[in-house]
Amino acid sequence: MPAPEQRRIIFQHIDEPGYTNDIDCYIRNGGYEVLKKAVTRKPEEIIEEVKKSGLRGRGGAGFPCGVKWGLVDRKSGKPIYLIVNADESEPGTFKDRYIMHQDPHQLIEGTMISCFANNVKQAYIYIRGEMPHGARILEKAIAEARAKNFVGPNILGTGYSCEIFVHRGAGAYICGEETGLIESLEGKRANPRIKPPYFPAVLGLYQCPTIVNNVETLCHVKFIAEHGGAEYAKIGTPGNTGTRIFCVSGHVQRPGYYEFPAGTITMGQLLNDVCGGPLPGRNFKAVIPGGSSAKVLRFGERYKGKRKVGADMVDYDWGVEDVPMDFDSLAMIGSMGGSGGVIVMDDTVNMVEALANINAFYSHESCGQCTPCREGSLWMKKITTRMVHGDARPQDGALLKSVADQIPGRTICAFGEACSWPTQSFYLKFKDEFDGYAATKKQPKPDNALELV
């Protein structure tokens, strides 16, 4: 079965010839009409539509957006803040970059609608420090929107006022974690906070109720405000509504970003039909489906179990190619949809090297607060590095597993899981490669071998 058609909602104008990021172009294409209508409605109605839509956050965890908004403490009398998470730091993920660069007003309109719905008077866009152009584009776009009274005091004469400012990070991955982000925005080290009590919805920025949403999520909110939650829920599949953007990178013919109704495309269709299959003369070996912290899947492996289809429980028996690319199916086979970053590796890749590369990332990025994460991520990196540098010991595979197993569930934030999942899954799925490494390490590398570490 060939892949279904892409359905571009969020990426409708991305790469469209002649489409620019200035406000006139956006308005010519119907921009800010949804905001104009939204500010004449009751805020609760918009929240209701978002709840009805079933929208799940696109930043990684897939938490329902309407439920998150419902948790906000509205009785405290303190101001409510909204933070746009534009940190986009999970390796393999690159969708938010294109939204901010090519269609910044879509994000600003979605943000303003979300602010209005939640009675937010002050919003911040926290953007990665490594995206200086993106920050400038957003600042210009906000200034344009302010000049037209879509942002700022007394928006469109309604009496509702709201400001947005851009805040640049400075190269630390942990700023993507929402409480680390809040600490960073407060001018401190990005050390995540212990939850509870610091659920942002109650005690967030400056100890005030705070909503943190991903860039893409807020663009979906704009679509929902325009078409209604029920219409949105018709796209995709129950529980996985709307469209999903996949960022595909690594060993495929056509890497890039692709938007589909959620749950309608399988991994095989995405990689073979849409991305053109493996590079000439090669075969797929492994794929990480949701950003580098998601558990790796191995081609040739089968995933079996029972799943709900309508009211019935049916058996499934999938190869990697058969897995529908939605949050629930990927979770069912032991991985996750995460941020939509799909990283593909072919048969030229040495899995110990690939894991060593990933471990170098996570050990560099641990914030250092929790001993299991700080020491464990570094220990795992040291083991994989010494393995690829020719000093592998026969027990290294098992040691890696035991270190990785000690981290999850014992840390302040989910980085502990993020850094242990790659090691756990690489060892589980490619045990032979790890266990046999000490014996084969003396062999010279083939000419086309990739330097990963």
Partner: protein, 166 residues
């Protein structure tokens, strides 16, 4: 510390974006680093005074975030992504090429003070790997050949800017 008047003006403006002054720490560090090139002890004390903090509050931020530098770097800053997607597409070879072209080691500045070459983590452009950030500009699909081209351009500029020998 001699800041440009426009830097001082932007500093005063950016502080107004936040209900709590401390939040302006990162923006001030960025503005001053862009103006002066790096973060000195003097800068740390200056920011602390400006935001009514203790110097340690600013110092701990400077040491946490990799983008802040404690010493000057070359005129051009070449940051090659080393994370998985880029590495799978040849990012390590790209980095080697830059090192060879300028005769530098990772993290060091070339003898003529022109370039500093560094590895950085994922730049969120994995679909066009390998990618390189040079100063503020992202360069995509930088294989070794393209890296050589870029290096040649940087060298040509350097020759043009160099003071004429007498």
């Amino acid at each position: 510390m001699n800041l440009k008047p426009e830097t001082l003006q932007r500093i005063d403006e950016v502080i107004t974006h936040y209900p709590v002054k401390r939040s302006a720490t990162l923006p001030l560090l960025h503005l001053i680093q862009e103006d002066v090139g790096f973060i000195s002890d003097e800068t740390i004390e200056w920011i602390a005074a400006k935001l009514e903090l203790q110097p340690i509050n600013v110092y701990e931020v400077v040491t946490f975030y990799p983008m802040f530098r404690r010493k000057p770097i070359g005129r051009r800053h070449i940051k090659v992504c080393r994370t998985l997607s880029c590495a799978l597409s040849g990012g390590y070879k790209t980095c080697e090429t830059f090192k060879e072209q300028f005769g530098v080691e990772l993290g060091e500045t070339s003898a003529d003070g022109e370039v500093t070459v560094e590895f950085v983590e994922c730049l969120a452009s994995c679909g066009t790997a390998p990618v390189v950030l040079i100063d503020d500009d992202l360069h995509e699909k930088v294989d070794s050949a393209k890296a050589r081209e870029i290096a040649a351009k940087i060298k040509a500029e350097a020759a043009k800017n160099a003071p004429v020998a007498r």
